[in-house]
């Protein structure tokens, strides 16, 4: 395990309004030294605004930004010592890669030889030493973002901010660069805030994931906890796929079509509710009655996802998504009758009108 040497970052009750729209509504978030926190949420949820306030690129209407114990709320962006990688390609087109990386060092009055050496070292760190004399126009998108990462790290910032740096890249490059960012972040040990709308990205590399909605933090926790124990129906809905199944709450469990499933929060009053069930918490039974029963239905589609497949089953009054190993799914092509089994993984419930379709 790499020793972490970053600083603590605190966002305290941050508020940001644009006219009548409140983009951030009292956001509070603390990043431990060397920690990588991913802010996840739909467009317009305020995650990028939070990052820009931390960077000093926007001013908060209320609240404080504290980095390493120092209140930097009033400091302009150029005096915060923060490295940032942007969503759009941001390399200076008139400079070659090493000049880009050395730019921040030049702003800090580092001598020519020293800054060139450090720039080349940083390019080596991101695996682009050979591309030091290339212009942005001579590099691919992934290479440009890696140079941007080297540039952000070259100034030895207290905090690294990543504003959806992978969103413009294709899937394969995105996956590789994502791992690369995590490797470099661990190697440098820098406190990092990573903003993304891609849940896979957030869950894959973050120490903790914060899910945001309407300018507020809905849940903050380790990726496994956010996924398996979502704090709110919104988090359950946004992170991963969720089946919304009608049921009845009775003594700390919910009965769904004859199956009793424990609740994440058992202290809810009895009565009808919508249970939020993960596709991987549903299985295809290999034996028993395949013709009759509340959980018997017809396979209407099978989506191949590699090692696993996603099977859509029509139960008559609703459809259910089931995620099973591809080997199991291959035995149930579209049109076959199947019986579902609900695993006793704790679920969240929602008190609202029944929504028949899986989401």
């Amino acid at each position: 395990m790499t020793e972490r040497s970053g600083v603590e970052v605190r966002l305290e009750n941050l508020v940001r309004r644009y006219g009548t729209v409140t983009a951030l509504d009292g956001l509070s978030l603390t990043l431990a030294p060397g920690e990588l926190v991913a802010l996840l949420g739909p467009s317009g949820c305020g995650k990028t605004t939070a990052l820009r306030l931390l960077a000093g690129l926007e001013e908060a209407n209320d609240g404080r930004v504290v980095i390493g114990g120092k209140d930097v709320t009033g400091l302009p962006a150029n005096r915060r010592n923060i490295g940032m990688v942007f969503q759009a390609y941001s390399l200076f087109p008139h400079m070659v890669a090493w000049e880009n990386v050395a730019f921040g060092l030049q702003m800090r009055h580092v001598g020519v030889d020293e800054r060139k050496k450090r720039a080349l070292d940083m390019l080596e760190l991101v695996g682009l030493g050979r591309f030091a004399n290339r212009y942005a126009s001579q590099m691919s998108g992934g290479q440009q973002q890696r140079v941007a990462l080297a540039r952000a790290l070259a100034i030895q910032p207290q905090v690294l901010l990543l504003d959806e740096p992978l969103s413009a890249l294709d899937a394969k490059v995105r996956s590789r660069l994502r791992d690369e960012i995590r490797r470099v972040q661990l190697e440098v040990g820098i406190t990092t805030l990573f903003v993304t709308h891609d849940q896979e990205e957030a869950l894959a590399i973050a120490d903790r994931v914060g899910v945001m909605q309407a300018g507020k933090l809905e849940q903050l926790g380790p990726p496994t906890l956010v996924y398996s124990r979502p704090a709110t129906p919104f988090v359950a809905d946004f992170v991963g796929l969720t089946n919304r199944m009608e049921g009845t709450v009775r003594r700390g469990a919910v009965e769904i079509r004859g199956a009793s499933i424990p609740l994440v929060h058992p202290d809810v009053p009895d009565g009808p509710a919508i249970a939020l069930v993960r596709p991987e918490a549903v299985a295809l039974a290999s034996d028993g009655d395949m013709q009759e029963g509340p959980l018997v239905g017809t396979v209407i589609a099978v989506a191949f996802l590699g090692a696993v497949s996603r099977v859509t089953v029509d139960l008559g009054d609703t459809t259910v998504l089931v995620q099973v190993p591809t080997s199991a799914a291959s035995q149930h092509p579209a049109g076959t009758r199947v019986r579902l089994e609900l695993r006793p993984d704790p679920v969240l419930i929602q008190r609202e009108e029944a929504v028949p379709a899986a989401s």
């Binding site: 150029n78 490295g83 702003m107 682009l128 890696r146």
Partner: protein, 282 residues
């Protein structure tokens, strides 16, 4: 089939090339014939022989050389003032006040719709005040000329700024510790250098060719002096006009060379990455 298709494509290409050359030739004739006639006239002696007397006589007209110097100074001052005013304003509007873009564009293009003579009527009281209270130097004309060149330069610089992501580049530079001045000087200006050169060229060309405002405000710039000289010595007047045109042409050539300057040559081949990223050359 493929051979026939290639043949048709080649025929079309040849026709297109011929059309291009014909258009180029006609345009060249249109521009070069009057220029050639001017050169011919300015080098023809009374007896029909070739002479450079008119050209040699240019320095002997002190009013003319003074006017040339004044016009050149005006061109330089106008260009600098225009750039200093326009570039930061346009960048700031793009970054901080995008809602004002339309208004700024409208205001910048307004001088284009106002005839020069109307501008003079509006400027006249201001210049009377300037002459009485500050200076009666011809260089004060640069104030009027900045307004005159505004529409053309706005368009040129706007095109340059539109070609780069001003917001992201600025924010990247700011996050790396750059002051606003450094952002402008080290990041924005180098990336719109072609647009700045274009705007400067337009500005210089307009100032060197300006007559109406200078004449009506009773200043002697190059064009006003050329008109005066034409009444006295047509040969010298035409020689100076040719020289001014050649000067503008030389500026264009310089612009083409500076703007189209190739980037530095790189030794590094585009080979695969070494080390831990050998598999992730992205």
């Amino acid at each position: 089939m493929a051979v026939a298709a290639r043949s048709i494509q080649r025929t079309r290409w040849i026709k297109l090339q011929v059309f291009r050359y014909v258009v180029f030739l006609l345009a060249a004739i249109f521009f070069l014939v009057p220029l050639g006639a001017m050169v011919e006239f300015s080098t023809r002696a009374n007896d029909g022989s070739r002479t450079l007397d008119y050209w040699k006589a240019i320095p002997s007209y002190p009013d003319l050389t003074g006017a040339i110097a004044a016009s050149l100074q005006l061109a330089v001052i106008t260009s600098i003032v225009m750039l200093v005013l326009l570039v930061p304003t346009m960048v700031w509007v793009r970054l901080k006040l995008p809602r004002l873009t339309r208004i700024i564009e409208f205001m910048s293009l307004l001088p284009l719709t106002i005839p020069a003579i109307v501008l003079v009527v509006g400027l006249f009281p201001m210049y009377i005040w300037l002459n009485n209270n500050l200076s009666d130097s011809i260089l004060t004309l640069s104030l009027a000329y900045v307004v005159l060149v505004l529409p053309y330069c706005y368009r040129a610089i706007d095109a340059g700024l539109g070609a780069i992501d001003v917001k992201t580049l600025t924010e990247a530079a700011r996050s790396l510790g750059a002051s606003w001045f450094t952002v402008m000087w080290r990041v924005i200006v180098p990336n719109i250098s072609n647009a700045i050169l274009n705007a400067t060229l337009l500005s210089v060309a307009l100032v060197l060719g300006e007559y109406t405002i200078a004449n009506n405000l009773l200043y002697n710039n190059l064009q006003v002096e050329l008109v005066h000289l034409a009444r006295d010595n047509a040969g010298v007047s035409i020689a100076v006009a040719v020289a001014a045109l050649l000067f503008a042409f030389a500026l264009l050539v310089v612009l083409a060379f500076v703007g189209g300057r190739p980037r530095r040559v790189h030794d590094e081949p585009a080979t695969a990455l070494a080390g831990p990223l050998a598999a992730s050359q992205t």
